[in-house]
């Protein structure tokens, strides 16, 4: 089976998932992102790499942060950007995703940044679009959020350059998290030797260990001697019900407090893809503490997204 995100000669055609992406391409994206970090610090925060190109942000599911950072990234590359929140427009009129795509293609969009509530939506769109169009998955269901996985890897690499010598823990709702899946693939591909997932059994997929992770249910045990703690957002609708009894109990068992963080290595960094639920998955003292790199994650997110878009445009 050919990987749908690569061209026949192995270049990046779409970014749909980190799984199956060659390590060389992941490195290329991260290295390219390094060169973009400085752009934001210039007086003119723009480079002309996507001049004349139209990037279409297509959000079938709500998002603020991801949509905004993609918009900024495209604009810093000098692209024209359109953002459509389709969740409230065409979908309710009964238009199918592919009809929406066809219409935007007819308006000469060059790149689609797609978010959808269903796993596999970006793959389906990538399979459908004309050959000159690139698709970037900005999150599909529980499946993947590759730019988030990449920006997290980028952030880790900046703070902990020796990736082949790291112990990373991902804590929280792994079952429903596309972020977790992308992080796992990014880290294992980049040679991180030990990726742990820490969650109650109700929030872990079956056979999660097949993804190459070590499973912990006890957070104190799981955090022991880790270099990186990646917290996941707990969606409101999961806070009470059959998966979890309450957000209070969750905070007690899986919330990151200074006391639990102390079990990790003293220089461990704390990450979160945002938006945070303070007092649910993370204590404010940790979120705002000196080990937190949550805000740099956001900044690097723009550089990484610029890198992905410029590489895709370069492979046209």
């Amino acid at each position: 089976m050919q990987n749908p995100q690569l061209t026949n000669d192995g270049k990046l055609k779409h970014l749909l998932s980190i799984e199956g992406l060659p390590k060389a391409i992941i490195k290329q994206i991260l290295d390219t992102a390094e060169s973009f970090v400085g752009v934001a610090e210039r007086e003119v925060k723009k480079v002309p790499l996507l001049r004349g190109k139209t990037v279409c942000n297509l959000f079938f599911e709500n998002s603020t942060r991801t949509r905004t950072t993609f918009e900024i990234a495209a604009k810093r590359l000098s692209a024209d950007v359109i953002t459509l929140n389709v969740s409230t427009s065409s979908q309710s009129k009964g238009e199918t995703i592919l009809d929406t795509i066809d219409n935007l293609t007819a308006m000469h969009a060059d790149m689609f940044v797609v978010r959808h509530a269903q796993s596999g939506a970006a793959h389906m769109i990538a399979k459908h679009v004309a050959p000159h169009i690139h698709v970037i998955n900005a999150g599909d269901g529980r499946h993947a959020h590759p730019t988030q996985g990449l920006l997290d890897a980028f952030t880790i690499r900046r703070y902990k350059p020796e990736m082949h010598n790291l112990r990373v823990a991902i804590v929280g709702d792994i079952l429903h998290s596309r972020v977790a899946r992308s992080e796992i693939h990014a880290l294992t591909s980049l040679g991180v030797p030990e990726v742990r997932v820490i969650a109650p059994k109700t929030l872990l997929p079956e056979n999660v260990e097949k993804l190459g992770v070590h499973v912990f249910h006890d957070m104190r045990e799981g955090l022991k001697d880790v270099d990186v703690v990646m917290m996941l957002r707990l969606q409101n609708e999961r806070m009470a019900g059959a998966m979890l009894p309450s957000s209070q109990e969750y905070f007690k068992t899986y919330g990151l407090t200074p006391e639990k963080l102390a079990l990790a290595k003293p220089d461990a960094i704390v990450m979160h893809p945002g938006p945070m639920n303070r007092g649910v998955e993370i204590d404010s003292a940790v979120a705002d503490g000196k080990q937190s790199v949550i805000l740099p994650q956001v900044t690097y997110g723009i550089a990484v997204r610029m890198a992905v878009m410029s590489i895709l445009a370069g492979n046209s």
């Binding site: 089976m1 749908p4 799984e19 199918t96 995703i97 592919l98 959808h116 269903q118 796993s119 596999g120 939506a121 793959h123 389906m124 599909d140 269901g141 529980r142 499946h143 993947a144 596309r178 899946r181 997929p205 079956e206 056979n207 999660v208 097949k210 993804l211």
Partner: protein, 425 residues
């Protein structure tokens, strides 16, 4: 009309025939095997040299989509597909629109099918009104109208008291209850086997326990009520084990498996191929092997096509939203042949599971070529390869996880009641 099928290799599991023998047909019946009856003058002779002659296949699960879903398929297109696949008898589940829960609807379906004069159609009536899982249907009336059993299609009965009563009532009259074992709460919103692939792709899983829990309740209730039960489309290794144990303990029960599940696993979902979105879901390699072993040792009685034509549009959605199902009528025979070859079985054994065994389950006169039986015959070329693609299929459903594959086994002639209803070059 007298037909002489000569030089073919005849396989008829029921009569233990597996050799080169001629078949003589007159007035819609088989009149002789081997030697020509005295004074037999054929109106037509079919030279079956190099071909295999078998009883027409009997398919335990084929959705014809009529009434109600004519945009997906029509009786005409699907009956053409059936005979093109060598299927001469088929049972159709009641999940049409309206649901087959009234005698009038069943009569109409039977009538329409009869007019087309292609395969024999044996409708399964709804076990509960509208498949609602609450009120049982008029099973006696429906049986008179032509139903051969009662099914909930893909809609499980949640209320075990209703299931109990439905089985009690069916048992009163000796009707067979057809159930696809799936515990609805565990399977809720699930679209794939709850395993490694679902974990990777972020698809909501259906655990194997959804099947085994349902089998456990069904077996228990069947035992208590004395109902005859047919379990439709097993998908798990543990499910096969449970049925094996029940049969060993003497419980009267039958079950089938879809041809898809004998060949595919959840890995065939690949990058979200919605054609591999099936119900029950494609499961693991271990399950696939157990299904195969269960079929070989007789735990599983029959192979069905689980034919579910879906219109193209309904597949153009992300995996979970795409409608489940695959076209199957024309793939059943090639998939059985491939299964036999992969498992080094003789054809005789493999063919039984799609002729004699399903005919027994349906309780209809079909699936064999005894003298005086209906001349429902399938003649095929076992070595002819053909490519599974939209234009090769008579079925209006072009959706198949096997698209693009070359399969061996091409039906050359299909006869129903002694008439040639399909012929290909």
């Amino acid at each position: 009309m007298k037909i002489h099928i000569k030089n073919g290799h005849l396989i008829d599991p029921k009569n233990g025939i597996d050799s080169k023998k001629d078949l003589f047909i007159a007035a819609g019946k088989v009149v002789a095997i081997g030697n020509s009856p005295d004074g037999f003058v054929a109106n037509q002779t079919i030279d079956a040299n190099g071909l295999i002659v078998i009883p027409g296949l009997v398919d335990l699960s084929a959705r014809l989509r009529e009434p109600g879903f004519e945009h997906k398929a029509t009786l005409e297109s699907e009956m053409q597909a059936a005979v093109a696949g060598g299927i001469t008898s088929l049972a159709c589940p009641p999940d049409t629109d309206p649901v087959l829960d009234e005698p009038g609807l069943v009569e109409m379906l039977k009538h329409r099918a009869k007019q087309l004069n292609l395969a024999h159609v044996y409708p399964l009536g709804a076990l509960t009104h509208q498949l609602n899982g609450q009120e049982i249907t008029e099973m006696c009336e429906l049986t008179e109208a032509g139903c051969v059993g009662f099914s909930q299609a893909d809609v499980a009965i949640k209320d075990t008291q209703v299931l109990w009563r439905a089985m009690q009532y069916a048992a009163t009259f000796g009707f067979t209850v057809w159930l696809r074992p799936e515990e609805p709460y565990l399977a809720k919103d699930g679209v794939a086997h709850d395993g490694e692939v679902a974990a990777r792709l972020g698809l909501k899983g259906i655990p194997a326990a959804a099947e085994t829990l349902a089998i456990a309740s069904i077996l228990r209730i069947a035992k208590e009520t004395g109902a005859k039960v047919h379990l439709c489309r097993l998908s798990t290794a543990e499910g096969v084990d449970m049925v094996r144990a029940a049969k060993k303990a003497g419980q009267k029960i039958s079950c089938d498996v879809s041809a898809n599940h004998l060949h595919l696993t959840d890995f065939d979902i690949g990058f979200f191929d919605s054609n591999a979105h099936l119900r029950p879901p494609l499961r693991s390699q271990r399950d696939k092997e157990a299904l195969s072993a269960g079929l070989i040792d007789g735990t599983i009685d029959a192979i069905c096509s689980d034919h579910t034509p879906v219109d193209d549009d309904a597949k153009l959605y992300p995996f979970a939203e795409a409608e489940a199902g695959a076209t199957g009528l024309e793939l059943l025979l090639p998939l059985i042949l491939k299964w036999a070859e992969d498992n080094k079985l003789n054809l005789n054994q493999a063919i039984t599971a799609a002729t004699q065994m399903p005919a027994n389950i349906l309780g209809v006169a079909a699936g064999d070529l005894s003298v005086n039986s209906n001349a429902d015959v399938c003649i095929f070329d076992p070595k002819k390869y053909w490519k599974v693609e939209a234009k090769a299929l008579f079925s209006q459903g072009k959706n198949s996880p096997f698209l693009g594959l070359e399969l061996a086994g091409k039906v050359k002639y299909t006869l129903v009641n002694g008439h040639i209803v399909h012929q290909s070059t």
